[in-house]
């Protein structure tokens, strides 16, 4: 157990290091820089001297490895630098944006986990018309571009029938009702694809397990179909499904970027798009750092549940 934790920690640190370094290199290759962006947003015209001064002030006149070294040093001291535009600490800014993004992601994982797994099981066991229906719904869910679906849902459920607010986010602190209403449309949008994704994988997994020899043998020993399915088949089918839910969590990070843009939700994704446009390197690095940490934690969670479910991995 200790070795596994050590290995996980080591690989997580390496991953964080590589991703942030890569982001640094890519971001520095971008044409233009933050000094230009700041100066042109302030006045429009500026002198070469002003430009050099701003660069020095921002610390972006130094060679790239030095900049990265400073950044790493900051990370070790719990600081991700300051936003070049607002001069706020990056951690403070991003922490404020973590709530909206995590609300949407976790709510989508729960919705798609419950609905997707149920649909998948039912379609694998019942087949027939219901199975085909799940197939079609899954396919449509995967094929719907979520930015398009978001627009359609806004038109239908926020404009035509005013059930949910079209944009904006209400924090959980303001009460669970308003919070739920504010994330309903984003979660509904992301869930279309997510439910389809989970349902399809669950269906494949359950079908595969049901065709295994031990299922026949359990029936041959007199156990009822009900107990074979509910106890034995589901337990075994859950192993790949857990992995899939982990993958889903990671891919939803990408989904939030689009969704937060469409619904004007002040989350990490929106921040990533803005920062990428304005060369705000500390913020870009910060978002990459946060996203990677979420990915690493999701992988850990998957790994742990995998061990819990699969005795063959647990033993080794």
């Amino acid at each position: 157990m200790f070795r596994q934790v050590a290995r996980w920690l080591a690989s997580s640190v390496i991953l964080l290091f590589l991703i942030t370094a890569l982001t640094f290199v890519l971001a520095s290759m971008a044409p233009g820089d933050a000094a230009k962006a700041i100066l042109s947003s302030q006045s429009g015209s500026y002198t070469a001297q002003q430009y050099q001064q701003t660069r020095r002030a921002l610390g972006i006149d130094q060679p790239l490895p030095v900049q990265y070294w400073h950044w790493l040093d900051g990370v070790l001291h719990g600081s991700l630098g300051t936003d070049l535009f607002s001069s706020q600490p990056v951690t403070q800014e991003l922490n404020a944006r973590l709530g909206p993004s995590l609300s949407i992601i976790l709510a989508t994982v729960i919705v798609s986990g419950v609905v997707g797994v149920s649909l998948g099981i039912v379609s694998a066991l019942r087949g027939g018309a219901l199975g085909r229906l799940v197939d079609v719904v899954s396919l449509a869910g995967l094929a719907l571009p979520n930015f398009w679906l978001a627009l359609v849902l806004v038109e239908l459920l926020a404009v035509k029938v005013q059930v949910f607010p079209a944009t904006g986010y209400v924090p959980l602190g303001a009460g669970p009702g308003p919070w739920l209403r504010s994330i309903a449309l984003p979660v509904l949008t992301l869930s279309a694809g997510a439910v389809a994704f989970v349902a399809k994988q669950t269906r494949d997994s359950v079908s595969e397990v049901m065709s295994r020899e031990f299922v026949v043998m359990l029936r041959a020993r007199g156990l009822s179909r009900r107990s074979v399915v509910l106890k034995h088949a589901l337990r075994n089918a859950a192993i790949p499904v857990v992995t899939v839910v982990g993958l889903l969590l990671v891919s939803l990070l990408g989904g939030t970027v689009l969704i937060e843009d469409v619904f004007s939700i002040p989350g990490l994704g929106q921040q990533a798009v803005t920062a990428a446009g304005s060369h705000d390197l500390p913020v870009i690095e910060g978002v990459a750092f946060y996203f990677t940490v979420i990915v690493v934690l999701a992988n850990l969670l998957v790994d742990l549940s995998y061990r819990l479910l699969n005795p063959r991995v647990r033993g080794s």
Binding site: L18, L26, A27, A220, L223
Partner: protein
């Protein structure tokens, strides 16, 4: 979700079927052409490609021609799909926009296929350190937050579609890499590749001639799924204005973006661009699914429910009445499978009896219907299979006509089953103790504590005297021999009167085999339990059985006492099987194998099923069905030349 589709593709079951027919391109295309959805998808995609490529000539309008007098006109005769807020023809813009999207997808596909195939082939074929390095690379890339990489690339190359698509391919290629690596490893492990290598073919030639053709199926699946993901990502980035913004001309994604600006005036505009994206992605997905189904050759749907496969149109029971001592009496049992809407008979007119406490062997090569016959006795035929005629009387009830719910009084406590692969017959996720007590409590009204005591007792009965070690073990912690003892203990939990042992020793070491056979003999004597032993091993048969049924290509060809069969077989197939048995042949002689192979049920010859492989065959053998006859009292043969066989000795 846009990135999910690309990472969601390592579904189970995409490996090549072991030893399956190489999935040639021509065969795949032929089978695909049978599915209406696959054909429709291919036709739709072809139309989209033609319209996009030929947009300059085919489009009714230039993409930027404005007609401010007719803005937001809605679909009509002048503009089939209506006009946008600048009065531009939506259909034309859709066609020109398709170029952007399709070009992007094509670029991404080339990079994706190139990288994934090369790395996967190298990893799978070279192995060793190359495999490890490539696997690490794949893990690393998969762990990256893809969207961050894309945003970074877009800030370096603002609005550049090619760069974005290359980046997308790069972060998605590990899924293809893994599939290719897995398939290559599986193929590489097969015998004929080793043979090709020994015969001096170079690695490159082996790869081109043997490996690549087999990869066509799984790779096509991955490509179509990735193409679908690429369409979604390209459209999404274009919608956000990050790649191919509106100023660079129309694309499907930025058309949705424009429609969103006028959503309250004209919601219709969401339909053409959005619908085109949805249909394109669906078509690619359907095509991928169809290729997977064809190449994997597996039927994904669940088996038809037993209610539908009930005991319909049943021929009257023929043959002699069952002896009074009979525990099980099978008469005229005929089993058919429905495959691709055709019903194929796989077992025909099988009759035999099992007396109380008797051990009956069923012998024959693989594919002769031995296992199917025994599974039918438990109502456990695999999907698509059903009994079409005959009966199987057990304790006054007909197993062949029994409803599913009545089998609960048979399975485990009247008739039990142990299988060829003891390990795969145990649920890998539960401890031995949990599986044993579950079955004990199913058949006996006992407390949990009594069940545990009984479980330990059962383990002692199968000579596993240390229940403290076995009960808390998981199946993967057992040896093959221990696993088979555990599965015998599981079979004994309900005190069955008949034990069906389907090749119980085939997968075990020779030394372990003897122990299992001794155990079965001992249990038979102690418990008075009858045994049906399915085997292709004469030694195992002689060790345990009194009488034997020889099956060939779905039929009983001979039935006699084991002693009689050994001394003087009355069917040429039995004779051939005996001669091919290494345990009976004189040392030093070459084993005479029976030429040819068992024909599949769809290719059974008319008349005697064995005649194409038989040295005694004459014209009469193929004239019509051969009946079972009794050459001596107490034995049966399905051969018209059985007297000639005796005379020839």
């Amino acid at each position: 979700m846009t990135l999910a589709a690309s990472s969601a593709t390592t579904a189970p079951g995409q490996e090549l079927p072991p030893g399956g027919v190489p999935a040639g391109r021509a065969r795949i295309l032929r089978e695909l052409a049978r599915g209406p959805l696959a054909v429709a998808s291919a036709a739709y995609l072809a139309t989209v490609v033609v319209l996009a490529i030929g947009a300059s000539g085919l489009a009714p309008d230039a993409p930027a021609t404005q007609d401010l007098a007719h803005v937001l006109s809605g679909p009509g005769a002048a503009h089939w799909l209506g006009t946008d807020r600048l009065g531009r023809d939506v259909l034309s813009r859709l066609m020109f926009g398709g170029r952007v999207t399709l070009l992007g997808v094509a670029e991404a596909l080339v990079v994706f296929a190139g990288l994934g195939l090369t790395l996967g082939l190298v990893a799978g074929f070279v192995g060793g350190w190359a495999d490890r390095v490539i696997a690490r690379f794949g893990d690393l890339v998969l762990a990256m937050p893809g969207i961050i990489v894309l945003l970074m690339v877009l800030s370096v190359f603002p609005g550049d579609e090619l760069a974005t698509m290359i980046a997308l391919a790069l972060i998605s290629c590990p899924t293809l890499l893994r599939v290719v690596r897995g398939s290559t490893l599986a193929i590489r492990g097969e015998l004929y590749i080793t043979a090709a290598r020994l015969s001096g073919l170079t690695s490159l030639r082996i790869m081109r001639r043997h490996v690549l053709p087999r990869l066509v199926g799984p790779v096509t699946v991955q490509l179509s799924l990735f193409a679908a993901a690429a369409v979604l990502v390209q459209s999404a980035l274009s919608f956000l204005g990050l790649s191919t913004p509106e100023t660079q001309g129309p694309s499907w994604g930025n058309m949705v973006g424009e429609a969103s600006d006028v959503i309250s005036q004209d919601p219709w505009l969401l339909v053409p661009a959005g619908g085109t994206i949805v249909l394109t992605v669906m078509a690619l997905g359907l095509l991928g699914d169809a290729v997977r189904d064809v190449t994997a050759g597996r039927h994904l749907g669940p088996p038809p429910r037993r209610r539908d496969a009930g005991p319909a149109r049943r021929a009257p029971v023929r043959g002699p009445a069952a002896p009074a001592t009979s525990l099980l009496s099978v008469r005229g049992l005929t089993i058919a499978f429905t495959m691709a809407r055709r019903e194929v008979t796989v077992v025909r007119d099988v009759s035999f009896d099992v007396a109380r406490g008797e051990a009956l062997g069923i012998v024959g090569e693989s594919g002769c219907g031995k296992s199917v016959t025994t599974r039918a006795l438990l109502g456990l035929l695999p999907g698509g299979g059903r009994v079409t005629a005959g009966s199987a009387l057990f304790g006054g009830r007909d197993l062949a006509a029994m409803a599913e719910r009545d089998f609960s009084r048979i399975r485990g406590n009247m008739i039990a089953l142990i299988s060829q692969e003891p390990m795969s017959g145990l649920d890998p996720s539960f401890r031995v103790g949990s599986q044993l007590t579950e079955v004990v409590r199913r058949h006996n009204a006992v407390s949990a504590r009594q069940a545990r005591a009984r479980a330990a007792e059962l383990l002692a009965m199968v000579n596993l005297p240390e229940p403290g070690e076995v009960l808390p073990a998981y199946p993967h912690e057992l040896s093959g021999g221990m696993a088979q003892r555990v599965s015998i203990a599981l079979a004994l939990a309900g005190n069955p009167r008949l034990l069906i042992a389907d090749e119980p020793t085939t997968s075990l070491d020779v030394t372990v085999q003897a122990g299992i056979l001794a155990l079965l003999r001992e249990l038979r004597e102690r418990l008075g339990m009858a045994i049906i032993l399915v085997t292709h091993d004469w030694g195992v048969l002689a060790d345990l059985c009194d009488r034997a049924v020889v099956m060939y290509a779905g039929e009983v060809v001979e039935l006699a006492s084991v002693e009689d069969i050994y001394r003087s077989p009355r069917h040429p197939y039995t004779e051939g099987l005996l001669a091919a048995n290494p345990r009976l042949a004189p040392v030093g002689d070459v084993l005479p194998a029976i030429p040819g192979t068992v024909p599949p049920p769809s290719a059974w010859p008319a008349g005697c099923h064995f005649q194409p492989r038989c040295s005694y065959a004459t014209d009469h053998c193929g004239a019509g069905p051969i009946a079972l006859t009794a050459p001596d009292p107490g034995r049966l043969t399905r051969c018209i030349h059985s007297d000639k066989m005796v005379a020839a000795r």
